[in-house]
């Protein structure tokens, strides 16, 4: 009797009697715990890690969580964060791109030479730099698909060759300074969102989250499927409104939010949409999960690899432009040093699996915040880069260990 009434009221996808009810506000916490126990940690580890790092650094230095420092931290995150976003894509198809640093450096060199040395229109120069990134990714895709050379080797060769090319084209000039009045430098150093507009953006963001959630739930209910209760969506949106609102208010105590960071977040959101709501995104996850199954399902696996390599090196080129704009210079050392390592570490620390098929665009955002926090905190403590490398290395190791452990736990809970 009880089951029959249940069946009458339950939506068509929840009628299996083995399913526990996780609907509505009361289902949020048990549902979350189910996932965590099954090894589906999502963003939990990186958020917890970020909280710990911030607490420790704040205890060590009172200035760390000041508005001014956080404003700076976000601005510093954007360039490498954009590069890390591309790395998330290649990791999703279980490949790697080691040449992102060199590609970003080459892109800033192209920008400098076209815009400053040759006096091109600035946007034309930007376009050329971005296209050179895309072309490199296309080349990687061709070599990968035609000859089956491992991406590790192709991009290692790319790392060396494009670094060489960057040094070659900048030979004799060494450093090209971008003029301070150029819109790029303004964008990367001085362009901040006015306070009122930042609040409008917060309201717009939470409002659209609510609307998207609500319309999806309505679509599902119309199809007689289970859907999130409006109360849950409302609570989530309000929590986001309060959280974002507070963050923005706090940042506005100093200079506020830089447009460059807004640009980075916009790219993350766009990538998130592409990965979760388009056929291309599904194919990316499928290729990362089981290439042969993807191929037999009629997915153009070669095109997926090529497009992912192109997305990665294009984003690396964009990151290079942002970095050059922030420094107001393109030099032989642009994109060298720890850019490569930080971008890859950010994607992994953010929760992208090295084994492919698992991770989200937000990994780039969260991961780069961790890395940049460590860097900024240790700089405040007057510790040099040696400590930064050590700490970042340990955090990276922790993240990868967690990935491997949860992978095992997922296998035993059937969520591989």
């Amino acid at each position: 009797m009880i089951t029959s009434t249940l069946h009458a009221t339950l939506p068509s996808d929840l009628q299996d009697e083995r399913l526990q009810n996780r609907l509505g506000l009361r289902g949020i916490i048990p549902g979350f715990l189910d996932k965590v126990r099954g090894g589906d940690l999502g963003a939990l580890p990186v958020v917890a890690g970020l909280a710990i790092i911030w607490t420790v650094l704040q205890i060590l230095n009172r200035g760390f969580l000041s508005s001014a420092n956080l404003v700076n931290l976000l601005m510093e995150s954007a360039a490498v964060g954009v590069i890390a976003l591309g790395i998330v894509c290649v990791l999703l198809v279980a490949q790697i791109d080691l040449s992102i640093g060199s590609v970003s450096g080459l892109s800033s060199a192209v920008l400098g030479i076209a815009f400053v040395t040759n006096g091109w229109n600035i946007w034309l120069a930007v376009l050329l730099a971005v296209l050179s990134g895309a072309a490199i990714g296309w080349l990687y895709g061709q070599i990968f698909n035609r000859f089956g050379v491992p991406a590790f080797v192709i991009t290692l060769a790319g790392l060396l060759s494009f670094l060489g090319l960057q040094l070659f084209v900048l030979k004799g000039q060494g450093t090209i300074n971008l003029p301070f009045e150029s819109p790029l430098v303004y964008f990367a150093q001085l362009a901040f969102v006015p306070a009122w507009l930042s609040y409008v953006m917060v309201v717009a963001a939470t409002g659209s989250l609510f609307l998207v959630g609500y319309s999806r739930a309505r679509e599902r209910r119309a199809a007689d499927l289970s859907a999130q209760a409006t109360s849950v969506i409302a609570v989530q949106s309000i929590a986001l409104l309060v959280g974002l609102g507070f963050a923005v208010w706090y940042l506005n105590q100093a200079r506020g939010i830089g447009w460059m960071f807004v640009f980075f977040v916009a790219l993350v959101l766009l990538m998130h949409y592409m990965l979760t709501r388009t056929k291309w995104g599904r194919s990316v996850y499928a290729v990362g999960g089981n290439v042969e199954a993807a191929r037999r399902a009629g997915i153009n696996v070669h095109w997926i690899y090529t497009s992912v390599f192109m997305a990665c090196s294009t984003l690396a080129a964009v990151g290079g432009i942002l970095a050059a704009s922030r420094l107001a210079a393109a030099s032989q050392s642009s994109g060298t040093g720890d850019v490569n390592l930080n971008a890859i570490a950010a994607a992994v620390i953010g929760g992208t699996s090295l084994f492919g098929g698992r991770g989200t665009a937000f990994a780039a955002l969260l991961g780069i915040l961790v890395i940049q926090s460590i860097s900024s905190g240790l700089t405040l403590l007057n510790l040099d880069s040696s400590f930064r490398f050590i700490v970042t290395g340990i955090v990276l190791l922790l993240a990868v260990t967690l990935d491997s452990v949860t992978r095992r736990s997922r296998t035993s809970h059937g969520r591989a």
């Binding site: 068509s12 996808d13 929840l14 299996d16 083995r18 399913l19 999806r216 679509e219 599902r220 119309a222 199809a223 007689d224 499927l225 709501r277 388009t278 056929k279 291309w280 599904r282 194919s283 996850y285 499928a286 990362g288 999960g289 089981n290 042969e292 199954a293 993807a294 191929r295 037999r296 399902a297 009629g298 997915i299 153009n300 098929g357 698992r358 997922r410 296998t411 809970h413 059937g414 969520r415 591989a416």
Partner: protein, 276 residues
């Protein structure tokens, strides 16, 4: 079951035919001069020992492997099937023996992989509704379609793979050991499904080691042995012993010897019963 498979009619409505198809992997000749015909509305069972080349034949038809030589004719046109997309375009859908599912994706994503509804902004509600329809049609016992397929049992995974082949209105469906992991009810459901597909005029190629299933639904039985054709029987006109003889290549084989032994044993057991 349906014993009447009028061969002349099959010739007129022939959907798919293979002539002299060869495929070797290095030194191993997996398929040698294979011929096969499938008519619309016909269920052809392919049987053979382990390693006889059944799955290789399936993979040639589904574009996973290119044949070394031979011709494939589909709806009276000579075709080549260079990749899985080509097979899907022709209307050949396959359930592979190894299922070919993506463990990290959920049931809906796997069902619609490669043919998602509304590619630019996925229509998840419609895909989920359609998934439930398909799965209920197969009496699938799957608690939720939004869990990764890694968490499904072997039989549930097989059901998902079968359901996937039904999407997109194929003309020929190839099932490589579809009932190997299925429970009693699900096996019956798959056999019913095969009969429904035949009624709808599809060609069905079914590979199975289960003689009872083969005799229940197939119109014709094609036997492969060591990569060669070794018999083509109309189900109603052949005894299981003949099929087994064709599979193993001899009338005196492990199966007949074993049956003889069992007969002997049960005979002596009967004697024991009468004595007491």
């Amino acid at each position: 079951m349906s014993t009447s498979s009028p061969a002349p009619q099959a010739v007129t409505t022939r959907l798919l035919s293979l002539r002299n198809v060869n495929k070797s992997f290095g030194a191993v000749a997996a398929l040698t001069d294979i011929n096969l015909d499938v008519a619309a509305g016909e269920v052809v069972a392919i049987v053979g020992d382990n390693g006889a080349g059944k799955s290789t034949l399936v993979k040639v038809l589904s574009g996973v492997h290119l044949p070394d030589s031979g011709t494939i004719t589909f709806e009276s046109n000579p075709v080549s099937i260079p990749d899985p997309t080509a097979a899907l375009h022709l209307g050949i859908a396959t359930v592979f023996q190894d299922l070919a599912l993506c463990d990290n994706l959920n049931v809906i994503d796997n069902l619609f992989l490669g043919r998602e509804l509304r590619p630019g902004r996925l229509n998840e509600a419609a895909m989920e509704t359609r998934s439930w329809e398909l799965l209920r049609q197969l009496s699938a016992k799957i608690p939720s379609v939004r869990i990764p397929v890694a968490s499904l049992s072997g039989g549930q995974r097989q059901t998902v793979a079968i359901a996937r082949s039904l999407l997109g209105n194929p003309k020929v469906i190839i099932l490589d050991e579809p009932t190997a992991a299925l429970g009693v009810a699900q096996t019956a459901e798959v056999l019913n499904l095969v009969e429904r597909l035949r009624e709808r005029g599809l060609g069905v190629i079914m590979i199975s080691h289960n003689m009872a299933d083969v005799r229940a639904v197939a119109d014709r039985v094609v036997v492969l042995r060591l990569g060669r054709n070794n018999g083509d029987f109309v189900v109603g006109e052949v005894s299981p012993e003949e099929i087994i003889a064709a599979i193993t290549g001899a009338t005196d084989n492990a199966v007949t010897r074993r049956t003889a032994q069992i007969d002997l044993r049960s005979a002596s057991a009967d004697k024991g019963v009468t004595r007491s």
